[in-house]
Amino acid sequence: MEQAIQVQDLHKAFGAIRAVDGVGFSVARSEIFSLLGPNGAGKTTIISMLCGLLRPDSGEAFLLGNSILRQAAQARAVLGVVPQDIALYMDLSARENLSFWGKMYNLRGKALSRRIDEVLDIIGLADRQKERVGSFSGGMKRRVNIGVALLHKPPIIIMDEPTVGIDPQSRRHILDAVKELRGQGMTVLYTTHYMEEAEELSDRVAVMDKGKIIACGTNAELVQLVGQDTRIELAVNVESARVLDAWRAAEGVRGVTADDGHLTVLAGDSNAVLPRLFESAASRGARITSLEIREPNLEAVFLHLTGRALRD
C-alpha cells in the first residue's frame, strides 16, 4: 500500500529534554492513524515537525513523497493542519476566517466561495457563518478550526487533539467528521490522550510515552500485548493502601494500581477474582463502594506498558 506519511527516526530535544527520541512510523493512504499518549509524550512535537514549525535535530519525514526538510513548501501544500489550540481570528466571522485561510492555500474567487459553502455544511455552521467566531461556543470554534484545514481538500489531515475541552455534542460531530474524511479518501494523523477516541477512530494506533513509540498496531494487536486481561475498577471506603498489597497477592490478579482513591485491578478472569477481592477487603475492615468491569482496551495497554494510567 502506498504510504501517505513516512516518519524515519525523528529526534528533537529542547535542552536536556528529549521530546522526540527516535520515532518512526508510516501511515497508508486513507488510513486514520492515531498517536496516543499522555500530555508531554511528544505527540505535538512530532506534528510540529511534520508541519514545518519545528526543525528535527535529526531524522526525516515524507508527506506524499515530499521531504519536510528539502521540499518543505510542497510538503505543506498536501497538509491540512488542525492545531491543538484554536487558531482563528475572533473578530472575524466564520466565513471571513475561512475566506482568509482559503487564500493562504491559494484558493480564490468562486472556487473559494463554493468551497467555503461546502466546508460550512461539513462543520454544520452554515447558518452561523456571518457571526463573529469570538461569539461562538468552544465546540463551534473547534468545528471552524477543523473547517479551515479542509478548505483546500488536502490529501493528508493532521489533527492535534481536536476534541480537548468541548461538549459531547461537538465532540461527536468532530469524530463523525473524521470518519467521513477517511471515507473521502483522506489520510488522517490524529493525536489524542483519550483512549476511547483512538479506539473508535483509528485503523492503527501508536502508543507514545516520553518521546518514544512504545507500541504500534491495530486495536486488536495492541490489546494482545496485555493478553486478554480484564480491567476491574473499584473504590473502597478506606485508604486504598489497606487493601492494595492483599489484592496484589490475590490469586488471578495480574496487577493493581491506585489512583486518587480508585483502584484498578487487572485480571484474567473477573468472575474468579472478584469474590477474592470482596473477601480480602472484608477481612481488612474495608467495603467496596463501587465496581466497574472493563474488557481489555488501550488504557490497559498503556498501563501494562508503562505502569501508569494514561491520565497520569
Binding site: R55, R76, A77
Partner: protein
C-alpha cells in the same frame, strides 16, 4: 497575493479594534485639537492674521507728555486694530483688575514721567513702562510686549537725540538747558509722529517696528507649532507602528501565525504582508495628521513632492523599525514595557533636533543634535520634515531612510525566520 491577503486581514482587524482606532487616529487628532484650543483660532481671521487679537488695557498716566500720548494713541489706533484689541483706561488699578479678572490679557501702564524720562539727557534714568499680564497666557502678552518694546526702541531715539545735542553743545562750551532739551525732544517726537501718520511713516512702522514685531512673533509661534506638530506626528507614528507590529506577537500567542506558517505561503511573504498592513496604517495616520495640522495651524509642510517623500520615508522607517524591535521580543508581556522604553528613548534622541528649536536658548545646540539625532530612526524622520518645511531637497534623506528601512526589515525577518524554524 499572499502579501495583500495578510495585509488586508490585518487592516480589517485594525479597523475593528477600538484600541488601534483610538491609538492611531483618535489620540493624535485629540492632541491636535488640544493644541488648536491652546493656540486659539490660529487659522482664523482676515488678512492672514494668525491669532485672535488680545484685549489690552492702555493706561496713560503721562497725559501731559507728548510721548506718552502718542504711544497710547498708537496702541489704541487703527494701525494695530488687527493685532490688538486695545481700549483706554484711566485707572491703573482698574486695568490690573481687568487682567486679574481675565477680562483683558494685558495692561500697558505708561508712567507719569514717561516723556520727561525720555528727555532727561545724560541722567541714565530708566523709562519704566509696566506691562501687567495674565500669567496663564503666553502668546497675547508676548505680542504686546514685543510691540511695546519695538515702539520704545523708536522713542529711545528721543533720548539719543537730546543726549547727542547736549554733547555737541558741551563741546562748544554751551550748556544744554531744560527748555532746549525739551524743544529737541518735541521736535524729534513731532518728526516721529509725522513719520507714523504719513504713508512713509506707516512703512517705517510696519517694517521697523510694529508690523516687524508682529511678523517676527507670528513666525516664532508658527515655527514652534510646526516643530511641536512634527514631533508629535513622529512620536505617534512610531508608537502606532510598534502597536500594529505587536500583532505579530499576538498572532504568535493566538496560534494563528504558526498556523499561517503551516500553509504553503512563504514566511517572508507573510511577514511582508504584516509589514504592509503596518505601513498602510501609518500612511493613513500621517496623511490625516498632516491634513488636520495643516488646516488647523496653517503649517506649510513643504512642496507636495517633498511631503509625499516625507510620508513614505517616515511610514517605511517606522514600520520597519517596529518589525525590527518586535523581532527581539518573546511575547506581548515584554512588548508593552520594551516598546514604551525603546520608542521613548530612541524617539527623544531623534526629535532632539526639533526640541532645541522650540525651547528658548537651546538652539545653540542644534549643530550637535542635528548629528546625534541621526543615530535614531526618529531623527531621520525629523530631518526630512525639517528639510521639507524649509523648502530644502529631501532626496538624500529619503534615500537614507529607505535604506535604513530595508536593513531593519531584513534583520527583523531574519530573526523571525530563525525563531520559527528552531
Amino acid at each position: 497575493m499572499i502579501v495583500l491577503d495578510v495585509a488586508w486581514k490585518d487592516l480589517m482587524h485594525s479597523v475593528r479594534s477600538v484600541f488601534m482606532l483610538v491609538f492611531a487616529l483618535g489620540l493624535p487628532l485629540l492632541t491636535a485639537g488640544v493644541f488648536y484650543a491652546a493656540f486659539g483660532g490660529l487659522s482664523s481671521g482676515e488678512n492672514g492674521r494668525m491669532i485672535a487679537a488680545p484685549r489690552v488695557m492702555v493706561v496713560n498716566l503721562d497725559s501731559a507728555g507728548q510721548a506718552g500720548t502718542m504711544l497710547a494713541d498708537f496702541l489704541i489706533g487703527e494701525e494695530l486694530s488687527g493685532v490688538l484689541d486695545a481700549v483706554r483706561e484711566s485707572d491703573p488699578a482698574a486695568a490690573r483688575a481687568a487682567v486679574d479678572a481675565g477680562e483683558a490679557a494685558v495692561a500697558v501702564i505708561l508712567p507719569e514721567n514717561f516723556t520727561a524720562s525720555l528727555t532727561a539727557a545724560g541722567t541714565g534714568g530708566t523709562v519704566a513702562v509696566e506691562i501687567y499680564q495674565d500669567p496663564a497666557l503666553t502668546v497675547g502678552p508676548a505680542i504686546v510686549r514685543s510691540i511695546v518694546g519695538q515702539l520704545l526702541d523708536g522713542f529711545a531715539g528721543v533720548r539719543v537725540s537730546v543726549q547727542a545735542s547736549g554733547e555737541a553743545l558741551a563741546a562748544r562750551s554751551i550748556p544744554l538747558d531744560p527748555q532746549t532739551a525739551a524743544g529737541i525732544a518735541a521736535q524729534y517726537t513731532e518728526w516721529v509722529q509725522a513719520q507714523m501718520s504719513s504713508g512713509d511713516g506707516q512703512d517705517w512702522l510696519d517694517v521697523q517696528s510694529v508690523s516687524g514685531a508682529k511678523q517676527e512673533s507670528m513666525d516664532t509661534i508658527a515655527r514652534m507649532i510646526s516643530a511641536i506638530m512634527a514631533m508629535m506626528m513622529i512620536f505617534y507614528c512610531f508608537f502606532t507602528g510598534t502597536a500594529a507590529a505587536q500583532s505579530i506577537l499576538q498572532e504568535q500567542e493566538a496560534g494563528t501565525l504558526p498556523r499561517m506558517f503551516t500553509t504553503p505561503a512563504r514566511r517572508s511573504m507573510i511577514l511582508a504582508g504584516k509589514l504592509l498592513a503596518v505601513l498602510v496604517t501609518l500612511l493613513l495616520q500621517l496623511a490625516i495628521l498632516l491634513a488636520v495640522s495643516g488646516w488647523a495651524f496653517r503649517i506649510h509642510w513643504g512642496n507636495p513632492v517633498s511631503v509625499v517623500l516625507g510620508v513614505v520615508g517616515t511610514g517605511a522607517l517606522s514600520a520597519s523599525f517596529a518589525i525590527f524591535v518586535t523581532s527581539f521580543l518573546k511575547d506581548t508581556k515584554q512588548a508593552g514595557m520594551v516598546y514604551g522604553v525603546v520608542v521613548n528613548l530612541v524617539g527623544w534622541v531623534g526629535i532632539s533636533r526639533l526640541f532645541v528649536l522650540i525651547i528658548p536658548g537651546l538652539d545653540k545646540y542644534a549643530s550637535y543634535t542635528d548629528i546625534v539625532s541621526l543615530i535614531s530612526p526618529q531623527g531621520w524622520a525629523a530631518q526630512i520634515w525639517q528639510e521639507s518645511m524649509a523648502g530644502n531637497p529631501v532626496w538624500i534623506t529619503v534615500t537614507g531612510m529607505l535604506v535604513l528601512s530595508l536593513v531593519l526589515f531584513g534583520i527583523g525577518v531574519f530573526k523571525f525566520n530563525r525563531r520559527f524554524s528552531e
